[in-house]
């Protein structure tokens, strides 16, 4: 598969009065055409900021991309002028946000919001845009699409609004959709409907997707490849099977052991990671996970381990990755 997006050593920092927040600290990953890549991690690990950086939606001040490149279809998005960037947003790359309640404009009808992107980015006539809008709403499973076009967001439920967001994201046939916690605000039965819809649409239309989430179940169901982030860095990446069955970073292992399983009887107490995530203004040269890590040694305090390849497509950034694998083998 051809590489669609290549992020290389991206750094995004926020210059605040409390210090420089290194929200994204040298992140590199790729997305191939048509595949679904997940970015997982807990609040504040920089997963959303990476996504916002791709679309250059970081507010300055205080935020700024300070280093790195984002190559998308042969162009570096970091170097692009604001006008060219506007052409990319919504047309080549579109975004689905977490909050369907706040990401639609409450004073514009669904129809206006849906056709706006098409009228901006393409040469379609108003009438054709309307027709396409009806088609899109049908595609995302909204009943009576003609009537819905005249309605306002407050007429729709949360699940319906998220369907509208997906329709908007698909309007200009993008090559890449970034979905930032797309179902976190929804109930489980509605979450299942929306995820199934996104999966089918991306597969049928061949759209690549970056799904940002903290839900390991969602990742297991939908992602081809997974990037695990901690404190602004990718600490492990690999196929979904690598990450779930052969994790080699202590944080990935701890994350998997922290979630109770719904499909199995309770077997033991949970084994959580102790302590709190680090303050991103106080990071030193060492591994940011070491205060919470049971494998940490002195070496971890002085230098940050490189992201080393351990198998085809599976890379880990840890000095003690062999010990982690050994623990896993022992446990099984």
């Amino acid at each position: 598969m051809a590489t669609l997006l290549e992020i290389d050593r991206l750094k995004t920092q926020f210059f605040t009065t409390a210090g420089v927040v290194k929200a994204v600290d040298g992140v590199s990953y790729t997305v191939d055409a048509g595949e679904t890549v997940a970015v997982v991690g807990e609040s504040g690990c920089g997963k959303s900021v990476t996504a916002m950086s791709i679309l250059r939606l970081i507010p300055w001040p205080p935020g700024k991309i300070t280093n790195g490149s984002i190559n998308f279809a042969g162009r570096d998005l970091v170097q692009l002028g604001e006008g060219d960037m506007r052409d990319v947003r919504g047309k080549d790359i579109s975004m689905i946000f977490q909050e369907p309640m706040t990401s639609l404009n409450p004073v514009l009808t669904i129809g206006m919001q849906l056709t706006e992107t098409m009228l901006t980015h393409t040469d379609v006539s108003e009438a054709d845009a309307q027709k396409r809008a009806v088609e899109l709403l049908g595609m995302v499973g909204i009943s009576e699409p003609e009537r819905r076009l005249l309605q306002y967001p407050h007429h729709l439920s949360g699940g319906m609004r998220q369907r509208v967001m997906i329709a908007m994201a698909l309007a200009c046939e993008p090559k890449l959709i970034i979905a930032d916690e797309p179902t976190t605000a929804l109930d489980v039965t509605i979450q299942a409907q929306i995820l199934e819809l996104m999966k089918n649409l991306t597969r049928d239309l061949g759209v690549a997707m970056i799904i940002i989430t903290h839900n390991l179940g969602v990742v297991a169901r939908y992602a081809d490849r997974v990037n695990v982030m901690y404190a602004g860095k990718i600490i492990e990446h690999g196929s979904a099977a690598d990450i779930y069955y052969r994790p080699q970073h202590p944080y990935t292992l701890a994350l998997l052991r922290s979630v109770p399983r719904m499909d199995q009887p309770r077997q033991a107490k949970l084994d959580p990671v102790q302590g709190q995530p680090p303050d991103l203004t106080m990071l030193d040269d060492g591994c940011a996970f070491r205060p919470r890590c049971r494998f940490a040694t002195e070496k971890c305090a002085t230098s940050f381990p490189d992201l080393e390849s351990v198998a085809d497509g599976h890379a880990v950034s840890c000095f003690h990755k062999d010990e982690v694998s050994a623990t896993l083998k022992e446990a099984s």
């Binding site: 297991a220 979904a240 069955y245 922290s258 979630v259 107490k269 083998k329």
Partner: protein, 347 residues
């Protein structure tokens, strides 16, 4: 190399005490609980035009030392049920029998005594602590109000002891809520609930707002406290994985009704009600091979409005097994196996 599921099924600590202090003695029983909120219209003269049937006839009991899970999607009435037990809402009908006494409709003065024994932990650690009070004040205020410890130094000592019990350092006594992370705030919320030496704690989405690693810490804390103090929990949550982990029995609610109630493993392994089955089917499991093998049948439609719920069985418009008679009356909540209750005629 490990196969599907083996990563998280590693036995980390001996857990033979899981059933802990679970006894056969009934602590609280809820009978025929109904909570209908009036919907009014008009500016000067308000007329009641409809009612939201948030809870519409719910029965269950909780044994001393037990953790009962109450699950369901938004608007199913699980939080309202908890609020009714605390008498934070005045229920429209029903009985709430705590230690053999019906506490429903007791006046505020009589409730003061009861509230010492029934405490609550809320979902949002950001809005359930007073931002202008230090942690110490948050913890000592209830002791003062209920006159549990009369001297100031005694209250201080007790507060520090509670902080330690909940895994926080003593110096948190002087901190304000904004100086703490979400997980730390939730620990303060738990310490506050413990300040009264309660018997029964209602955990309303107590771990839902926390990140997974922090969530696991707080789940373990809740379990340790249950064993240490012989506490009884009503664990209200929409997160079925957490519920399976922490609860002894689980009740499923849909649109104000209880549709299924069974022992935890029985409910998750042999769900009977079509709604419970759909709910369990919808939850993604962190195991890619297993996920790729699942059918992923999603139920269609959305949760109807509780102002105008469907006739008969409230689930029938979305139910794959609905027949004509489902529209006529809400099915009886019956015991189909020992301890396994279901409200459905078609099973």
């Amino acid at each position: 190399m490990t196969g599907p599921g083996e990563v998280s099924s590693v036995v980390v600590r001996d857990d033979s005490q899981f059933r802990g202090s679970y006894t056969d003695e009934t602590l609280i029983s809820v009978k025929g609980l109904k909570m209908h909120f009036p919907v009014t219209e008009g500016v000067f003269v308000q007329r009641v035009v409809a009612s939201v049937k948030a809870v519409d006839g719910v029965n269950f009991e909780i044994k001393k030392g037990e953790t009962l899970g109450l699950v369901g999607e938004s608007g199913c009435g699980k939080t309202t049920t908890g609020r009714c037990i605390l008498q934070l809402e005045k229920p429209t009908a029903g009985e709430i029998i705590f230690h053999g006494e019906d506490i429903n409709g007791l006046d505020d003065k009589a409730m003061i005594e009861i509230r010492k024994k029934i405490q609550v932990i809320f979902q949002d650690p950001f809005s359930s602590l007073n931002p202008r009070m230090k942690v110490g004040e948050i913890l000592t205020e209830p002791m003062q109000v209920h006159n549990i410890i009369s001297d100031e130094e005694g209250r201080r000592q007790r507060a520090v002891e509670l902080l330690t019990t909940c895994g926080l350092k003593a110096n948190f006594y002087e901190r304000y809520p904004h100086e703490m992370s979400g997980g730390q705030r939730q620990r303060v919320g738990i310490a506050r609930a413990l300040a009264m030496n309660p018997e029964f704690i209602i955990c309303d989405e107590a771990v839902s707002a926390l990140d997974v690693s922090i969530q696991a810490q707080v789940i373990n804390l809740l379990e340790d406290l249950r064993d240490q103090f012989g506490l009884t929990y009503l664990f209200i949550s929409h997160d079925l994985s957490v519920v399976r982990h922490i609860c002894h029995r689980v009740a499923v609610m849909y649109l104000g009704h209880m549709v299924e109630l069974a022992d935890c493993d029985e409910l998750f392994d042999n769900p009977i009600h079509p709604y419970t089955q759909a709910l369990l089917e919808a939850v993604p499991i962190p195991d890619p091979d297993l996920e790729h093998g699942r059918a992923h049948k999603v139920i269609t439609g959305e949760i109807p409005s509780p102002i105008n719920p469907p006739s008969g069985c409230v689930f029938h418009p979305r139910c794959p097994r609905a027949v004509g008679s489902c529209k006529d009356s809400f099915p009886e909540f019956r015991e189909v196996k020992p301890g396994h209750w279901v409200a459905c005629t078609e099973v």
